[in-house]
């Protein structure tokens, strides 16, 4: 547990925590890959929404688990982390971090 967390700064802290979570196949962070669709504090649930790059990848659950585990570490008592997939939003390369885009020729 991190020190002195407050609900107001949780989304920003969550984004930093997710920087350590990687896509298993690419070895790049979820943030750099642009798969973090949103982070919200919904009552007692800190929820991150991920935008999938694949409809049939069996590793999606692993990424959700890893994201939840990373978020739970920064949650104060009484707050539960949750990661969900947003199947209605299409991922596109524009979402990637500038450094990664540059590496991949964009």
């Amino acid at each position: 547990m991190s020190s002195e967390p407050t609900p107001d700064d949780l989304p920003a802290r969550a984004l930093a925590a997710l920087a350590d979570v990687q896509d298993p196949e690419m070895g790049e962070s979820l943030g750099d890959l642009g798969v973090i669709g949103g982070i919200e504090l919904d009552g007692s649930v800190l929820r991150v929404t991920l935008i999938p790059t694949s409809a049939t990848c069996p590793m999606a659950d692993v990424m959700l688990d890893d994201a939840e585990a990373a978020l739970q570490k920064i949650c104060p008592p009484g707050i539960r982390a949750e990661a969900v997939m947003d199947w209605d939003t299409a991922w596109s390369p524009e979402r990637m971090a500038p450094e990664l885009r540059e590496r991949f020729g964009w």
Binding site: Q22, D23, P24, E25, M26, G27, E28, L33, P52, T53, S54, A55, T56, C57, P58, M59, A60, D61, V62, L64, D65, D66, E68, A69, Q72, E82, A83, V84, M85, W87, A90, S92, P93, M96, L100, R103, F104, G105, W106
Partner: protein
């Protein structure tokens, strides 16, 4: 870590791990029959009255590997991803066991056909309820090729089976790689070139029964084009230095593309050994590359990364060189040695993975 078997807000529950383990075991037993049959064929092991070196495994070694092992494994991955349809890989696994354990080949064929139809249905569901895309369509066409191959096996159409099973694996891999290569900026025409290659593979399967010479020619041209496309554009070639297993996966994939290119060259030269460069060099490199990153999804295991996991790939490569030389020189002893080398590579890889998983359990005692 958090269990993957909880129910998320917008998903049905994940498939139960004990059931996944049973189906995974069926896949492994199919692999055992396939490898045993192969070693008996090559003369590396004596034949037996029954079991993995018995006449059924020997006769249908290819079917067991393709429809039995890969049919089960790939459908299992899709079922896990979609949280449904575990019966699809289960039927494929049972089909293989019905064949090599019981000799009930009509039953095996029927189960394989049903499983392939189910896999096609899983892709259809994914496109309908999640997202339709070109890569998904490519993978679904691989399932269609599996269906054609399994029906061909049932009806005794050997060319259709050979091309259909091979297309199943190649298109499944190609679809997955095309999906990830969306991250890379492709030059003009590269996307269209991929679609042309896809069409070439699909057409070769469609022609298998009626114009097999043309179908095989088209197949090897398509394999050459696909290998060049992957070697030129796939994101894996930029990820060798990636952290942990991702770098291992990228290296395995890249090596596999070289084997695919060599296989295509030998295939165009009319050499029968080309098929095993595709099936063992290309496809098994994908298996070695993806196994460590699939284990968390399939079993909840978190193997600790080790560079030793690349060593079995080298053993497999050396044994393939022996296979090529043994085939080209018609040296039976060399081919038997090559077969032993293939099997050693599998066992070596399994041992490295077991050690990596055990280290992972020690470092993450709370892991499932």
């Amino acid at each position: 870590m958090v269990s993957t078997q909880r129910t998320r807000r917008n998903e049905p529950p994940a498939l139960p791990r004990p059931a996944l383990a049973v189906v995974a075991l069926m896949a492994i037993l199919n692999l055992l029959g396939a490898v045993g049959g192969a070693l008996a064929r090559l003369g590396a092991l004596p034949t037996a009255a029954l079991g993995p070196t018995g006449p059924d495994a020997l006769m249908a070694h290819g079917a067991l590997l393709m429809a039995g092992f890969f049919g089960t494994l790939i459908a299992l991955e899709r079922a896990v991803a979609l949280h449904r349809g575990l019966w699809v890989p289960a039927l494929a696994g049972l089909g293989g066991l019905s064949g090599w354990l019981l000799g009930a080949w009509p039953v095996a064929s029927a189960l394989w056909v049903a499983s392939a139809a189910g896999l096609l249905g899983l892709y259809g569901w994914a496109g309908w309820r999640r997202a339709m895309s070109l890569p998904l369509a490519v993978e679904a066409s691989g399932a269609l090729a599996l269906l054609a191959a399994n029906a061909g096996f049932w009806l005794g159409q050997a060319d259709l089976s050979r091309l259909g099973w091979s297309a199943f694996l190649v298109l499944t891999i190609a679809g997955e790689r095309r999906e990830l290569t969306r991250m890379v900026r492709l030059p003009p025409g590269a996307g269209a070139a991929f679609v042309v290659v896809w069409a070439g593979v699909a057409l070769s399967v469609a022609l298998a029964t009626w114009a097999s010479t043309l179908a095989f020619g088209l197949w090897w041209v398509s394999m050459a084009a696909l290998a060049l496309w992957l070697l030129r554009f796939d994101v894996a070639l930029r990820q060798w230095q990636a952290k942990g297993w991702a770098g291992h996966t990228a290296i395995c994939l890249s090596v596999g593309y070289v084997w695919l290119a060599l296989g295509a060259a030998l295939g165009l030269a009319g050499q029968i050994v080309a098929w095993h460069l595709v099936w063992l060099g290309f496809v098994m490199a994908m298996v070695f590359g993806h196994a460590p990153i699939m284990m968390p999804a399939l079993a909840g295991w978190r193997p600790v990364h080790t560079r030793w996991a690349l060593a079995p790939l080298a053993v497999l490569g050396l044994s393939l060189v022996l296979r090529v030389v043994g085939t080209l020189t018609a040296d039976g002893a060399l081919m038997a040695l090559a077969g032993t080398g293939h099997a050693l590579a599998f066992v070596f890889f399994g041992a490295v993975m077991i050690r990596a998983v055990r280290r992972g359990m020690v470092s993450r005692p709370s892991s499932r």
